[in-house]
Structure formats: C-alpha cells, structure tokens
C-alpha cells in the first residue's frame, strides 16, 4: 500500500524531512524520556478529580440515589446525560480507525491511535453510569442473561436498556481488540529499543511476541481489515441503540423516529470535537507537530462540518414536526417554543449556539485551518453536545403529558462531583497512555512516508523538475 502514487499538489502528511528512523525516535521519545513538570501537574489535577468523583460514587452507592437532584418526574438527568455524552465521544475512534481505513484515508494514520485510546477510555466512563445510576447497583449483573437459580427469571429482551448492555459491551471489546492489534508492531518497536530489562519484559508481553516477519505483517493487515469490517457497523449501531432508549419510549420529545441517524451524526460530531481537543494539545506537548499537521486538523473540521450539518437539520426537523403536529403535548419538548422561552431557556440556547451556530464558522477556510480556533470550536461543541443530551433528557422529562407532574431538576454537588470524577478518570487514563504507549501508529505512518512524507515528496518532485 505504500507504493501509492500521490499527486504533488497534495499537502504532505508528514512534514519536516522525517526519515524512517526519525519517526521511530519521535514516537518513542515520550515513552523513553522522563515526564516533565507539566505532565505531573495535569496528572495530579486529573487524579484529584478522579478521587473526588470516586468519593461521590461511594457516597451515592452507600446512601441512595436521593443524593442526586432527581425527583419523581425527572428520573434521569446528569447520569444518563453523561452516559450518552461519553458514548458519543467514543464514536470518533472507531470511525477514524475502521471507516477511514476502509476508505483508504491515509491521514487517519497519525491520529487513529489516540482517537481509539480516547474511544476506549470514554466508553469506560460511559459504562460506569448505567451501573451507578441504578438504585441497587450491587445487583447490576441481573441485566446480563446469566443462567441463575432464581427460578425462571430472565432478562427482558424488549428493553432498550438491555440492548444497551449488549451494544456497549460489544463496542468496547471490538474497539479494544482493534486498538491492540494496531499496537502490536509499535509495542514490538518499543520492546526492541528498550534497554531496561523490566521495560523490555513488559513491552514484549504487550507485543504478544511480534517478530516482524512477513507472515506477521500479512496477518496483521488481514486482521486489521476484518476488524475494520466488523467495527464499521458498530459505528452506526451503538448510538442507534443508545437513541432507542429514547426513541422507543412514549414521552413527547423522546418518541422520535429520526433519533437513530441524528444520534449517530451527533456522536461523530462530538467525537471528532474531542479528538481535536486532545490532539491539538498533544501535538504540542509530545512534539508531534510534524505528524499531526494542519491537514489533519482541517480534515477533521470538515467531518465536524458535515456531521454538524446533519445534526442541525435534525434540530430543525424536530422543531418543525413538533410544531406541525398541532398537538399541544408537543409544546414543551426540548425543541419547541416552550423550551426556548421556558425555565430551561439557557439550556436550549446553549445547545443552539454551541452546536448550530458556532460550528458554521468552519465554512471559512481561514478559521478551519487555524489551530486556536479549531481548539475553541472543539471545546464549544463538547459543551454543546453535553447540553443536547441534557436537554433531551431533562427538558422532555420535566414537562410530560400531565401538567400536574411537571417539575424541574437542579443538580446536587454529588451530581457534579460524579461527572467531574469521570473527566478526571478519563484524563488519568489518557495521560498514562500518553507516557507509556506509542501515541502514533508509527508502523503505519512509515508506510506512507515515501508517498506523503515531505522529504520524499520533495525528492520526488525535485526529480520531476
């Protein structure tokens, strides 16, 4: 695959006259070097946040869900908002590594490792919420169809929550396997370079005895392709099923047939935003400016523009259909005049501004090729997508069919603590990953070095002249 011809007018994907050895050295550098002060500061903050969240979770489990701000009408709020948000973030990884692989998009190679790591870490956060949001989390295993001694008890296959269990666990396991497969040659590279026996031992275990023979490479390519084929439908299915939690219900605002495609688009939208956030920082901190270039950023911004467009169309559709239905039970759904002017107007407008208006700036080339602006937009989208889920869950639940039961929701510090805790946990994992894993799929990058590396491109183009 390395021998593809690439037009000279294409921007190089690897800049800065990198040789094969340079790539190796650059990727191994964060692992082999020592952590700097900044890393320790950020890691400490993340760890504290994580521990605080852990404390909040322990308090919740030992005291009762009542420590959250929920009530008889709003039975879910931050818990499921966070769940859907984290699952959504997890979508970009698989899309980048599987779908873009199938479409032979070479630019994915610089970012797929971290995107997938992000996927796995965020799915871990997501998986936490369905468990701790239960009234009796110690019985969480009851949602698994395990043969049991309780008699004829079995799970309810009609329930979208059960579908979630399967969807999320499948997604997590396939993503993990896919990620690890890609890691094997890179771990082997680290193993081969390692000087300390302990490090060598660890990386040789992690690399599953990779030998670098042609047969290894052939199997590696085949498995990658097969896994990409398996993972591609998951990109669509996971968030489709998450959206079923709402779409199959009878609640105004939830019961909506466009939810599956709309949720998938929204998930990719938010996932790419999170990848942008992480990588714009990472390329600086880990000195990867030559690998993660403005080309990558722009490409991701284009995906954001597309999926953001899909999401925006969905908002308009929801708003219009709710109004057009002529039933006043739809008057207060999250996309309605009632929401825009009601007590949750701030949440409604946060969603519209963050997801609908701000991403439109990316139509301007100057802005979408600007690192700083891309970073700001990515943060804004992350916030907006959190509000989207909050709006769908809380606004829709708070004003349901019977006005007598209308209530509102306000979070307690435990609600907030648990959410911040998962963010902490996510960054603890990601920071550890950045120091111990090869953060760029160097083996793959090397395959395109000759076609898309600046140095070789120049050499080649020079010959033509």
């Amino acid at each position: 695959m390395a021998s593809h011809y690439e037009a000279p007018i294409r921007e190089p994907l690897v800049t800065g006259d990198k040789t094969y050895h340079d790539v190796t050295v650059d990727v191994a550098a964060p692992v082999e070097g020592r952590a700097n002060k900044q890393w320790w500061i950020v890691f400490s903050i993340a760890l504290v946040a994580f521990l605080w969240g852990l404390g909040c979770i322990i308090y919740t489990v030992s005291t009762g869900i009542g420590v959250w701000g929920l009530n008889k009408t709003v039975g879910w709020a931050w818990d499921i908002t966070n769940f859907v948000w984290w699952v959504g973030i997890g979508h970009a990884g698989t899309l980048i590594s599987a779908v873009l692989l199938l479409f032979r998009q070479k630019w994915r190679m610089a970012i797929n490792r971290s995107a997938e790591a992000m996927t796995i870490f965020s799915v871990v956060q997501a998986g936490l919420f369905p468990i701790i949001h239960m009234g009796r989390p110690w019985l969480a295993y009851w949602v698994l169809p395990i043969p049991n001694q309780f008699g004829s008890l079995w799970v309810n296959f009609n329930s979208p929550l059960l579908w979630d269990v399967f969807a999320i666990s499948t997604y997590l396991s396939v993503s993990l396997v896919f990620w690890w497969t890609g890691l094997l040659p890179d771990f082997a590279m680290l193993r081969d370079r390692a000087v300390k026996p302990f490090q060598k031992k660890i990386y040789s275990l992690l690399s599953f005895g990779w030998s670098g023979r042609a047969k290894d490479w052939q199997r590696f390519e085949e498995v990658s392709l097969v896994l990409a084929g398996l993972a591609t439908p998951l990109v669509l299915s996971v968030h489709t099923i998450v959206s079923f939690d709402f779409a199959t219900s009878v609640i105004p605002g939830w019961h909506s047939t466009i939810f599956p495609p709309y949720f998938v688009a929204g998930a990719i939208f938010s996932g790419f935003a999170m990848v942008l956030t992480l990588l714009i920082i990472m390329r600086k901190v880990s000195n990867l400016e030559n690998y993660i270039t403005i080309v990558h950023i722009e490409n991701m911004n284009k995906v954001i523009l597309l999926t953001g467009g899909v999401v925006s169309v969905a908002y308009i559709t929801e708003f219009f259909i709710g109004w057009y239905s002529g039933t006043n039970y739809e008057d207060y759904t999250y996309m309605s005049i009632g929401a825009a002017t009601g007590p949750y107007w701030w949440a409604f407008w946060a969603l519209i501004i963050c997801n609908f208006i701000v991403p439109q700036t990316l139509w301007v080339k100057k802005l979408r090729t600007n690192y700083m602006w891309s970073f700001i937009v990515s943060i804004v989208i992350n916030i907006g997508m959190w509000f989207e889920r909050f709006d769908i869950i809380v606004i829709d639940l708070s004003k349901g069919h019977l006005p007598s039961s209308w209530t509102m929701f306000s979070p307690t510090f435990i609600d907030i603590g648990v959410f911040i805790g998962t963010i902490g946990f996510f960054f603890v994992l990601f920071l550890l990953y950045a120091r111990t894993f090869p953060v760029i799929a160097q083996a793959e990058v090397k395959t395109i070095l000759k076609s898309s590396g600046e140095k070789y491109k120049k050499l080649r183009d020079g010959n033509h002249e």
Partner: protein
C-alpha cells in the same frame, strides 16, 4: 370448589406398571440408607467401613464449618407466640370492629381493621346511616394511637404518679374546693355522648354541683345560637343534600368541616347526572374552599360582602329591597341564585358558614320557608356543643379565684384560645387543674395533673351524632399505656366501682336499646331509636339544682327580614382575615401525625405548612410573590399580619379564587408542645381567633425573607390540554351525542381511522378468562377530599419522607389527586384559546397562569394498570410485568432501580425509594420506631431503598377475596372486590370491580357514555377508567 388435584413427581408415577415401585418408594422417605452404623458402630467395623479417610475429612470439615457458623450470632427477632391463643384472633386473618370516633372535632362511625390484635386501618362503616364517611383525618387517626409523643402515664407536676394517687388527690381536692365554696368546673370537648352527659350530671349531683363548660376549638357558636334560639336545643340542623336540586351556599365549606362535616356523601349523590338531572351548586365565598372548588358557579366575595350577599339573596327572594353594595357581577349572581331557588322551591337549600348569628338564623328561616326537603331541623346534629361565652365567663371566674378545681378533657385551650394568656393567668389561680390529654401539650404542661387519656381505639363510649342515631365506641386493642379515660376516672371519684364499659352497657340496656340485644348493637356499632330515654342533647346541661353556666340568651330579631337588614349593614373596611381549617389538619389535634402533615392540601397541594392565601391582585399590590426555585420548588414572600395587636410572620401563597380584599389562614398549625420537631411546622393561627370569630380585620405588611414551600404540584393549569380532564355541561350532555362531548381517540391503522383501543401491535392476552379488574373514577362526584390518599397510605405502608424531600418532588403517594385551575374563566375557554391560536408563543405562557377566579377540577391519579404498559417493555430485568387479572405488577425483589419505567410512564405514578425510608434516623417518622411500625400492614411488604414502587390495585385485598370465596366454595358477588381507595371513597366516585362479571357495576360504568381513558390516544389501554365531569351551568 374443593380441590381434588393430585400432585405427582414424575411421569413414571402415573404408569400403572410402576405402581408397586412407586408405592415402595413412597413408604421409604430416604431412598439411600444413611450409614449411621458406620459412625456409631463398633470400632472393629471401621476397617470394613465404606467411609474413607477422605470422607472422614469431609465430615470433619463440614462439622467444623457448621459449628462455627452456628456460633455466629444471627439477628434476633422477637416473635412471641400466644401461650393461650385468644379465640377470635387467628394469625393472618383480620378482624373488624365497629366503632365510633368522637375526638371533639371528628365524629364518624367507622370500621376498625385489626391484625393480630393491632388496629391497622380505619374505614367507612357502610351500615351506619349518619356520618358513615371517614374523612382523611379519621382514616389517619389510627396512626395517632401509635404516637411516640403520647403521654404514657399519669403525671403530677411533670413527675410520674400512680392512678390511685391521682384519683385520691383529685377526689380530695374536689371535696376541699366544695367545702371552701369554690367552683368545680369541667371544661371538655363536645362528646355528643348520652352516657357521658348522664354520668356528668350524676356526678354533679353527688358532689353538690359542678359546672360543665363545653369548648370547641373551632367554634360553630353562630349556628348553635341560631338553632337554639329557633328550636330550643343547642344543636345544628342536619341536611340531606341528595334531596336538593339547587344548593346555594354562603361561605359554607360543607364538603369539608362545616358544622361537623359529613355532608359530602349526600352532596355527591346529586352531582352525577341521572335522567338528565343533577344538582346546581352556587357558592359565594372568600377563601377558595373545597366546596367552592366543586361548585358549578363560584363567586368570590370578601366575608362582609358574603353577608351582604345573603341579605340581598333574601331580599331577591322576598322582593324586599335590601341596602348594601356588591360588585355588579355578584349582584347578578345573587339574583340568579334567588331565582333558581325560588323556582326549585322545596328542592332547594341554602347553607351558610358565616360565623354570624343573624346569617345563620336567616338561613334557617329561608330553609324553613322553602320547606326544603334537604333541611332536617327535627333530628339535629349534636357534634358541636361549645359555647364561647361560657368559656369567657370561665376565664373570668378563674382569674377571680372562684375556681377550685378545673378538670379539662380533650381540650388544649392554651393552644387553641386567642385568649390563652388570660386563661394561663387564670389557670395559675386555680387550686388544682387536671387535664385528660393524649399529649403533654401546652395546657398539660401548665396543669397540676396530666391524666393520660387513651386513644378512642382503646376506649369505651357512646355517641349520638344525630338525634336518635346512637353509636358505640369500643376498644380494639388493650391500652398501650397506663391510661384512664375521663369517664372511668369520674366513676372512681364518685366511689362507683363499675367501669365505664359497664356503665354504658347498663345505660343502653335500660334506656336506649328498647329490649334489643346489646351484643348486636355492639356488633353493628350503631343503633337507631328516636324515642330513647337518654340523649346527648342535654350535654353540658347539668342536673337540676346544680350550678349551670348561664349563657347569655341570643338576642335575635323576630323576623327574617330583620336579620337581613342587619347583615346588609356589614361594613367593609380594610382587609379581612378569614381563618379556616384544612382538610388534612382540621383543628390541629393530630398535628403529630406524619400522614396528615404530608397529605397534600386538596386545593393548594401544599404539604407540611399553613400560609396566608392572598389573591393575585392583592399580592401584586402588596409586593408579594411566589417564584419557582431552580429545582422547581415553590418559594413565597413573608407577610407580617397583625390582628388586634397580635402579630405573626406567615408565608404567602397566591391563591387563585381568593376574594380580593380578603386573606385566609389555616388553623391547626404551629403547635409546639407534644409534637415532634419535624412536625412543628407552620404558624399558629389561633391567637387571631378572637372570640371564636373566624373573620378578623387584619393589617398586612411585607417582610423580608423567602419561605420554602413543599408543594407537590408546580403547574396549576391544564395548559389547554382539556383532553386530560374531560368535562362538559349538563346542557350539552343532555342534548348532544357522546361523540361530541366525549370523543374516543382514533388512530390510523392500515390507512383507516380506528379507535385507539383497536389498534394493536401485540398479540393479545385473553382477558375474558378469570377476573379482570377495572377501577372507575367519576370526576363528577369526586370532591377531592383526599380520604383515599390517606387510606392508600395506610393500606400499602407508603413511607413518609418529610418536608425537605417533598419540596424536591419526592412524595411517595401512590395515589394523588391532581387539582387544576382554568386559565381563562373556564376550562372550556382554555381549550378554545388553544384552538384559536395554536402554537402561538403568547398562548403558551398565558395558559400557564391560573385565572383570578378559576374553575377547579380534581382528578385522582394512580397507576392506570395499562394493558399495554409503557413501563413493562422498558424494564431490563422484567421487574414490572402484567398480571392475568389486569394489574400491572411491580416485583420489588427483582427491581434494580433504573427508573426507566418511571420515565416512560405517561401518568407519572411511579415512585422511587430514593433513600431507605424505614428504620432510618434520617426519616424519623412512624417507620423508625417500634410503636409506629405497629401500624404497618403485614400483608404488604415495606420496600427497601433503590426500588420502584406504585399502586398495586390493592392486590393483597383482591387476592384475599378470591381465596376466601374459593375456600368457601362460592362465587364472588359484585362489590366484594375493593381497593383501599374505593372503600374509603364516601362519595361513590371510585368504583372497583371485575369487568368479566357482566352484571357488575364496573362493567356498566365501562360501557357508560361518560367513560374515557386518561391519555387514551397513547394506546396504553388502562384498566383505570374516568367518567367525564359534568357541570350544571344552567342559570335560572
């Protein structure tokens, strides 16, 4: 249907060729021989034993483990079996006893359900003719018995004494007082008890005269005075409202506690249209009362305007011109009402709750002149007897040192008297004071002796609620504490050895029963004898020769016209405060009852509070506001109110329908003594209750601060969703097709419009086999009284969560009564407004605010037991599923608490156990102490934290009915199936039954034209059905 089922273990058993084998096996319980010999036999056999070394080690291991496990201390649960089992008590089988509550405020014939000797439920006594309806407070009264704050034995100056000492002391003190020429005074509640009246009179004769002053905390003096002046007895006229076609009420809250209450049953009978007719109810009032909320037409007027209105009403009827001015609309309404009353003639009745002798006398005169069929002055009610002027003269006597001994029974004047200060001063000058009380309340703390009084469920007694209608009170449990009832003490003081039980029995046998059986009367709880020798009518009138309290004769003019002229002179100056009693709290004697504190007021839907109800216009003018906090909780400003120099700071609640220029405040709150800290809520309004008059001129100022209310409903209007609570007018109901006023929802299936119930995605169960339960709720006859809410609480062990949790909308009530106000002048206008401008932004927000004088509607909502339940499909662990009898069942053990079911419930009836509510110090209510837990229903599990719960359609009750009938080998008759709520409903609005019994009432209701399903268009096919509310809007 005796069972002849044969149980078998395997198919092999049924084969004839195996019969001998089967027989051998049956005889041999242990198929494999137990090798006992090998262990216990001779040592020499050990070598040949089949027990190997490994087996030996297994045995040793097992024994060690078993022994060490057995050594661990298991939880010790005290369950003490009967040594001698009482004949009538069978574990697991409930016993019912007929009894009567007569606590001075609530009077009703009730049935008491006991389990294993514990009363756990109080319900309507269907066989009783009068006051058979237990209101919310009566249903809740069972919990007041298991109250940790009860005084548990007699006390002197705060120290425990024995009853013999107390009785001897009091006896001596009384003799001493008599010897010194001082008065002995009994200050008691209204007993309405013929035996007590006789006993007091005998006692008075024995000791040479006592004064008997009767004091009702919430006074009905005006009605009593007017009746006494006209008919000679201190009593109140009775009304049978089912006979009235036109009811005009001037501030009479007759669905609640007006003149002793108990009228809602007969009222509701006339509210269901039958043969094209229903009663017409017009209400003139200041506070938004339960009665006003049910009226066909409600006119909001200040108390003095209501007085003018009744005068003008009289004028309009008689053609006499009466002075005074009213707003034009009210004037018109008065004229229209008068015209209607005149037209209806004897089918009309006029009621008034104005605490004004003239108004009461005028109402009596009008009813008499109409010869109203609903009006019954000949057999009056004895449930209120108090005389405020005699209380005042008692206070005077006390202060002048004339009173030697004061015995108080069932009263708490230091809390309920506006003149509490002078009463307290007087009390200190009284030589000896004895108070018979269940609580160490304000009065008990200042008295010499506290005589611990038993609860009515531990007492004997008799009551004559209405002339000639006698009922008995019998204990249903041995007294929990060292208590003695007043009557027993009185017998003791007389040196009479008989118990009060024997005294009542003797009295009944000789004077009341007319030869019929005492046992039968006790069994029935009620007995009717209109010519009995003893009566409660002379209660408070002590035997001849004794000193009676002279009450000033009421000066009334001779003619009705004069009353009217006097009323018309009522001046309107400044703001008027109208004190009222809330459905949940009444006069406040059950303030320590957590069920009642947590009971949402039917009108305001507020809990754990009282508040100043202010009209929107006044609130705007005075700068008061109600706002919603971030979590939707209701916040209110504070007002400082001053009446006659007494002031208090109270939270303000803006009340739609409150007459401008008037404010309301509920009595019965703010009690501090004998009340647990959590329940010392609200503000005591009795200090404003000067001279027992519920209307007082008031000064109102705004003060700083925000009050946090605990309301269960924040949205008060229907937002134009008229479909939820359907109603129509009598005219439309009579003339139009049902499709017009009660359209059944239709959906498109296969491109055809079909009724929503016919569209189906599921394979249907056959619901025609066995029982299939439905519950019908008639919105026409539901008055919103809330007795069902408390009954559900009691039957189903529903937890109490406290004020702060209620504020977070975490009430646990399985059954709630939604109350909606119209946003325009009527609900119909709301819907028209939506249709005129659907989706307009202005429509939205305008419909969210209730009108100044709105129409009101009540809708009880509990689990609708949908045949296509949205909750059932979404539970991942199938913890909620459908029963073959129609119930949607909740399996608590299986629930993991995802709350998805509650989210997906369109009716929002599911309740989650956010915390552990039983045996948790954070929720220190009745479920946190052994005494309070005695009220729990053993048939219903107490839920743990983290599980969902909801209405089960009282499955434990239906199942019991089925099993009883099966054991007795009979079919079940209509009416046998009941739920706690349907049994508690005294208006007949709730009917429960088996729709597979085609003869049953519920089957007919299901086919009724008025039937509809709540949110029927959702296709949930509920098993709870509603009947369209019909309003009689016919003007004269």
């Amino acid at each position: 249907m005796a069972s002849n089922k044969k149980y078998w273990v395997s198919v092999e058993e049924l084969k004839p060729e195996n019969s001998s084998k089967v027989e051998t096996l049956k005889q041999n319980e242990f198929v494999n021989e137990i090798p006992v010999d090998q262990f216990l036999g001779e040592q020499s056999q050990e070598d040949s034993s089949a027990t190997s070394r490994r087996d030996f080690l297994k045995f040793v291991g097992f024994s060690t483990a078993a022994a060490s496990l057995a050594a661990c201390e298991g939880p010790v649960k005290k369950a003490i079996p009967y040594v001698v089992q009482p004949e009538e008590i069978r574990p697991g089988v409930a016993n019912y006893y007929a009894s009567t509550i007569a606590d001075g405020y609530d009077f009703a014939s009730v049935l008491v359900k006991t389990r294993e000797g514990r009363p756990i439920f109080v319900k309507n006594h269907d066989k009783a003719e009068v006051n058979s309806s237990a209101n919310a407070r009566v249903v809740a009264s069972v919990l007041s018995m298991y109250d940790t704050k009860r005084v548990q034995g007699p006390k002197k100056d705060g120290k425990d004494v024995s009853w013999s000492d107390l009785n001897a002391d009091v006896k001596a003190k009384i003799q001493q007082a008599k010897a010194q020429g001082k008065d002995v005074v009994f200050l008691t509640q209204t007993f309405a008890s013929p035996s007590t009246a006789k006993l007091v009179s005998e006692y008075s004769a024995a000791v040479g005269g006592v004064k008997h002053v009767i004091y009702d905390a919430v006074s009905e003096d005006a009605a009593l005075n007017a009746f006494e002046a006209k008919y000679g007895t201190r009593a109140m006229a009775d009304y049978d409202l089912s006979k009235a076609e036109v009811i005009v009420s001037f501030d009479a809250d007759f669905i609640a506690d007006w003149q002793g209450g108990g009228f809602e049953g007969s009222y509701a009978k006339g509210r269901v249209p039958s043969n094209g007719k229903m009663s017409r109810h017009v209400q003139f009032e200041s506070n938004m009362s339960l009665t006003g909320a049910n009226a066909d037409k409600r006119v909001a007027l200040t108390p003095s305007q209501v007085k003018i209105a009744i005068a003008k009403f009289y004028g309009a009827m008689t053609g006499v011109s009466i002075g005074g001015s009213l707003p034009e609309a009210a004037e018109e309404a008065v004229k229209a009402a008068a015209k209607q009353v005149k037209k209806a003639g004897s089918k009309a009745v006029v009621l008034t709750g104005l605490q004004d002798d003239n108004a009461q006398a005028l109402a009596l005169a009008i009813n008499e002149s109409l010869s109203s069929e609903a009006f019954d002055p000949s057999s009056p009610l004895y449930t209120r007897k108090g005389n405020f002027s005699s209380v005042q003269s008692l206070i005077k006597d006390m202060n002048s040192g004339k009173v030697g001994v004061l015995v108080m029974v069932g009263v708490n004047p230091l809390y309920t008297l506006a003149e509490a200060k002078s009463f307290e001063q007087g009390l200190s000058k009284v030589g000896t004071s004895v108070v018979f009380s269940m609580k160490e309340d304000e009065t008990a703390l200042k008295s010499t002796y506290v005589a611990a009084m038993p609860h009515y469920l531990e007492s004997w007694g008799d009551v004559e609620i209405k002339k000639g209608h006698y009922s008995l009170m019998q204990p249903t449990i041995r007294p929990l504490f060292d208590t003695m009832q007043f009557q027993d003490a009185l017998l003791n003081w007389m040196g009479n050895d008989t118990s009060y039980y024997e005294y009542v029995k003797e009295n009944w046998t000789t004077s009341i029963l007319n030869g019929s059986s005492w046992n039968q009367a006790l069994h029935d709880g009620v007995y009717k004898n209109t010519s009995a020798g003893v009566t409660a009518s002379n209660e408070g009138v002590v035997s001849e020769g004794a000193m009676n309290v002279e009450s000033a004769p009421v000066v009334l003019a001779s003619g009705a016209g004069d009353y009217a002229v006097r009323l018309a002179k009522s001046s309107v100056e400044g703001v008027e405060l109208m004190l009222y009693t809330k459905t949940g709290m009444g006069d406040g004697q059950q303030a320590n009852n957590p069920w009642l504190q947590e009971f949402p007021d039917p009108i305001t839907r507020n809990t754990w509070d009282n508040y100043l109800t202010v009209s929107k216009a006044d609130a705007d003018a005075w700068g008061f506001e109600n706002t919603l906090a971030d979590n939707g909780g209701l916040d209110g400003s504070y007002a400082k109110i001053t009446v006659n120099g007494v002031s208090a700071t109270v939270p303000v609640l803006i009340q739609p329908g409150q007459a401008k220029g008037s404010v309301g405040l509920a009595l019965g709150y703010g009690k501090k003594e004998g009340v647990q800290e959590e329940m010392q809520v609200g503000v005591n309004a009795y200090p404003f209750y000067f001279e027992g008059n519920n209307v007082q001129p008031v000064k109102i100022e705004k003060v700083s601060g925000t009050h946090e209310f605990a309301s269960v409903q924040m949205q008060n209007t229907l937002d134009g969703r008229g479909d939820i609570l359907r109603e129509t007018t009598l005219e439309v109901f009579n003339t139009e097709n049902a499709h017009h006023w009660n359209p059944q929802p239709e959906v498109s299936m296969m491109h055809q419009e079909v009724e929503a119930d016919e569209a189906n995605l599921w394979q249907e169960f056959d619901t025609t086999v066995g029982h299939h339960f439905n519950l019908s709720i008639d919105l026409s006859s539901c008055t919103g009284c809330g007795a069902c809410v408390i009954a559900c609480h009691a039957e189903n062990n529903v937890p109490v969560v406290g004020k702060s949790e209620i504020r977070k909308f975490r009430d646990m009530h399985w059954l709630r009564i939604d109350r909606y106000y119209s946003s325009e002048e009527s609900f119909e206008a709301d819907v028209e407004k939506v249709e005129a401008a659907p989706g307009a932004i202005s429509t939205y927000h305008e419909l969210e605010d209730p009108s100044a004088n709105p129409q009101v509607a009540f809708q009880p909502v509990m689990c609708q037991h949908c045949n296509h339940a949205p909750c059932e499909t979404v539970c991942p662990v199938a913890a909620t599923s459908h029963g073959r009898q129609g119930q949607n069942q909740m399996i608590y053990n299986r629930c993991v608490g995802t709350r998805y079911c509650a989210n997906n419930c369109p009716y929002k009836v599911r309740r989650f156990n956010w915390f552990l509510y039983a045996e948790n110090d954070e929720f220190d209510f009745h479920m946190n102490n052994d005494l309070g837990r005695m009220v729990l229903n053993p048939d219903v599990v107490v839920r743990s934290r983290g599980v969902m719960e909801k209405c089960s359609m009282c499955m434990q009750m239906t199942q019991k009915t089925i099993l009883d009938a099966k054991r007795e080998g009979r079919t079940i008759e209509d009416g046998e199936f009941q739920t706690a709520c349907s049994a508690a409903c005294s208006t007949g609005a709730m009917v429960f039954g088996d729709v597979n019994n085609k003869e049953s009432e519920i089957s007919k209701l299901k086919e009724d034209d008025r039937m509809y399903h709540l949110l029927g268009f959702k296709g949930t096919r509920p098993n709870v059905i509603y009947q369209v509310k019909v309003r009689n809007t016919e003007e004269a």
